[in-house]
C-alpha cells in the first residue's frame, strides 16, 4: 500500500519541527535557569568591583578583565598563525603526503581533551620556560588549543571560494598573492570569522586548561606575567568549593551575556564584510 506523499510530507515536517523546538527549548531552559538564579545578584557594583573574602563578597571585575585579556590575546596569536597555515594548505601546496600529515595532525589536535593541553602548558610553559602561572602561559596554551578550529574553518572557507573567481583575477593580471589578498580572503571572510567566533567562545568557556596555566589569582592581571582567573574559572571555583552559589550564578549571567555580546558583534562585523564584498 502506498501512503499519500502529502501525509508523509506533513509527518516529516511535524517531526522536524518537534526536533527544532526541542533543541531550542533546552537552550532556553539552561539560559532561563542561569538568569533566574543569577540575575538578582547582578548589579553595576558586581561587575565593577573587586571580589572580597575569596569571592564570597564583592564583585568579579578582575575575572571579567582576565577573560577579555585571555580571549583577545589568544585570538591575536592564533588567527595569523592558523590563517597562514590554512592559506598554505589550500593555495601553496598540492595534495601530498605532507599536507595529509599536517591535516591529520590538525585533526588530532582538535580531538585532544583540554585537560591535556592544560597539562602540557603547565609542564612546558609554566615549569620548563619558567613563566609560572601567568596570563602569558594561559594565552599560549589557549592559542595551541584553538589553532585547529581556526585552521579547519579557514581552510574550508578558502576552499569554498570558486576557482573561477581566482581565474578571473589572474586573467586581470593579478599575481597569486594579490588574488589571495583581494579576492579569496574577502570571499572567505564570513567562514573565517565563524572560526574566530567559535574560538573566542572556547577561550571564554575553558576552565581546566586555564587553571593549570594561568592559575586562579583573584588579583587584576596587570602584566602578561601575572596570574589571573577568567569568569569560567571563577564560576567553577565558587561552585566547586561551595564558596557562594549566588555569586557563582551572578558570574554565569555575566558570562552568558558576554558570549551573547561577542556573537552579536561578530555577526555585525560579518554582515558589514559581506555587504562590502557583494
Amino acid at each position: 500500500m502506498r501512503i499519500n506523499p502529502r501525509i508523509i510530507n506533513r509527518l516529516v515536517r511535524m517531526g522536524l519541527n518537534v526536533q527544532a523546538f526541542f533543541t531550542v527549548g533546552i537552550l532556553i531552559i539552561i539560559v532561563a535557569i542561569i538568569f533566574f538564579k543569577g540575575f538578582p545578584h547582578m548589579s553595576f557594583a558586581f561587575i565593577f568591583s573587586f571580589p572580597e573574602d575569596m569571592g564570597r563578597e564583592g564583585g568579579i571585575f578582575p575575572s571579567i578583565v582576565g577573560t577579555i585579556q585571555l580571549a583577545l590575546l589568544s585570538i591575536l596569536f592564533a588567527t595569523p598563525l592558523g590563517l597562514g597555515t590554512a592559506i598554505f594548505l589550500t593555495e601553496y601546496t598540492r595534495e601530498s603526503l605532507f599536507t595529509k600529515l599536517i591535516r591529520f595532525g590538525v585533526e588530532s589536535l582538535a580531538g585532544i581533551p583540554s585537560i591535556l593541553y592544560g597539562l602540557f602548558g603547565f609542564i612546558f610553559f609554566v615549569i620548563k620556560l619558567k613563566m609560572g602561572w601567568s596570563l602569558l602561559a594561559g594565552v599560549l596554551t589557549m592559542t595551541i588549543m584553538i589553532l585547529p578550529t581556526i585552521i579547519r574553518t579557514s581552510e574550508e572557507a578558502i576552499r569554498a571560494v570558486p576557482r573561477q573567481l581566482r581565474i578571473v583575477s589572474y586573467s586581470l593580471s593579478a599575481s597569486k598573492w594579490e588574488t589571495i589578498k583581494k579576492v579569496v580572503l574577502p570571499a572567505a571572510m564570513p567562514g573565517i570569522l565563524t572560526g574566530i567566533m567559535l574560538s573566542i567562545g572556547r577561550a571564554v568557556g575553558e576552565t581546566a586548561a586555564i587553571i593549570f596555566t594561568m592559575g586562579s589569582s583573584l588579583r587584576l592581571p596587570l602584566s602578561v606575567m601575572d596570574s589571573g582567573r577568567t569568569m569560567a574559572v571563577h564560576f567553577y571555583i565558587l561552585a566547586r568549593e561551595g564558596i557562594s552559589m549566588e555569586k557563582a550564578y551572578g558570574t554565569a549571567v555575566v558570562l552568558v551575556l558576554s558570549i551573547l555580546l561577542i556573537n552579536i558583534l561578530a555577526y555585525y562585523i560579518m554582515n558589514k564584510a559581506i555587504a562590502r564584498y557583494s
Binding site: P162, Q164, L165, I167, V168, S169, Y170, S171, L172, S173, A174, S175, E178, K182, V183, P186, A187, R276, Y277, S278
Partner: protein, 251 residues
C-alpha cells in the same frame, strides 16, 4: 597584412593526450579573427596559450612556438603577469568579482599601480563606454556588480578587460549564455573596438563568426583545418569538413 599573434607548429599535451597538433597560424593586427569548431577542437586551448592561462592547468606540455609581435611568449623570461596586461580575456560565463561595478573595472588598473581617483574614474568611464554599458550603469557605479543582468555582466567583463588597456582581446565564447539582444550589443562593441585592438573571438556560433569576423579559422580535433578571410571560408571553403561544419552537418 601585419601579423600580431603567430604560432609555429604549436603542440599542446594534457598528460598523454595531444589537444593541439602542430598549429601554425598568423593572426592579423586590428582585425577580428573567429575561431570556430566543435567542442574538443582545441580552440580554447589555443587561447589559453596566448594569454598563458594554461599555466594554471596541471600536467601540461607545450612544444613549438607562439609569439606576439614576433617575440616569443613561451620563453621563460616572459612574465605572465605582464603578458596578461597586454592580452585581455573575456570568458564564456561572466564572472563579476564580488564587489561594486566601479571596483570591478578598477581592479586591473589598481594592480598596475593606478591609485589616483580621477584617473581611475576616467578609466572606468572610458572602458564602460567602449563596452556599451556606461549609459545603463553610470548612476549606480557603487552598487554590486552581481546585481547586473547576465548580458550586462558580460559587458562589464569586457569593460574590465579593456581597463587593462590591452593590445589583444581574447573572447572565449562570450555570448554562449546570452540572449540575442545582449549578443548584438557585444557584437556592436567588438566591431567598434577592432580599430584599436586585435580581437580573437572563439565561438560555436558560426553565424556570429560570419557576421563580425574578418578572418575565420576552423579547428577540428586539435588541428587547424582551414584559415582564411571570413568571406572565403564561408562562401568557398577549401575543405569539405569546413563546409559540413558551417552548414551544420556536425558540431
Amino acid at each position: 597584412m601585419d601579423t600580431k599573434i603567430s604560432t609555429d607548429r604549436l603542440k599542446v599535451f594534457f598528460g598523454k593526450s595531444q589537444v593541439l597538433k602542430e598549429i601554425t597560424i598568423a593572426v592579423h593586427r586590428n582585425t577580428i579573427t573567429g575561431f570556430m569548431g566543435p567542442s574538443g577542437s582545441g580552440k580554447s586551448t589555443l587561447i589559453s596559450v596566448i594569454n598563458r592561462m594554461i599555466d594554471f592547468e596541471n600536467n601540461v606540455r607545450i612544444e613549438g612556438e607562439a609569439a606576439i609581435d614576433g617575440t616569443s611568449i613561451l620563453d621563460g623570461s616572459i612574465n605572465p603577469i605582464e603578458l596578461r596586461r597586454r592580452v585581455g580575456t573575456v570568458f564564456a560565463v561572466p564572472i563579476p568579482l564580488p564587489r561594486s561595478i566601479f571596483e570591478n573595472i578598477a581592479y586591473g588598473p589598481k594592480l598596475k599601480g593606478t591609485t589616483d581617483r580621477t584617473s581611475l574614474h576616467h578609466i572606468v568611464e572610458d572602458s564602460l563606454k567602449k563596452a556599451f554599458l556606461w549609459d545603463e550603469v553610470k548612476d549606480r557605479l557603487s552598487t554590486s556588480a552581481l546585481k547586473l543582468s547576465g548580458g550586462q555582466q558580460q559587458r562589464l567583463c569586457l569593460a574590465r578587460t579593456l581597463a587593462l588597456k590591452p593590445e589583444i582581446i581574447l573572447l572565449d565564447e562570450p555570448c554562449s549564455g546570452l540572449d540575442p539582444v545582449s549578443t548584438a550589443k557585444i557584437e556592436d562593441a567588438l566591431s567598434e573596438l577592432k580599430s584599436e585592438y586585435t580581437i580573437i573571438l572563439v565561438s560555436n556560433n558560426t553565424k556570429q563568426i560570419a557576421r563580425i569576423s574578418d578572418f575565420s579559422a576552423f579547428f577540428y580535433l586539435g588541428e587547424l583545418i582551414e584559415y582564411n578571410t571570413t568571406e572565403k571560408v564561408f562562401t568557398t571553403p577549401a575543405e569539405t569538413k569546413t563546409e559540413d561544419y558551417i552548414q551544420g552537418k556536425f558540431g
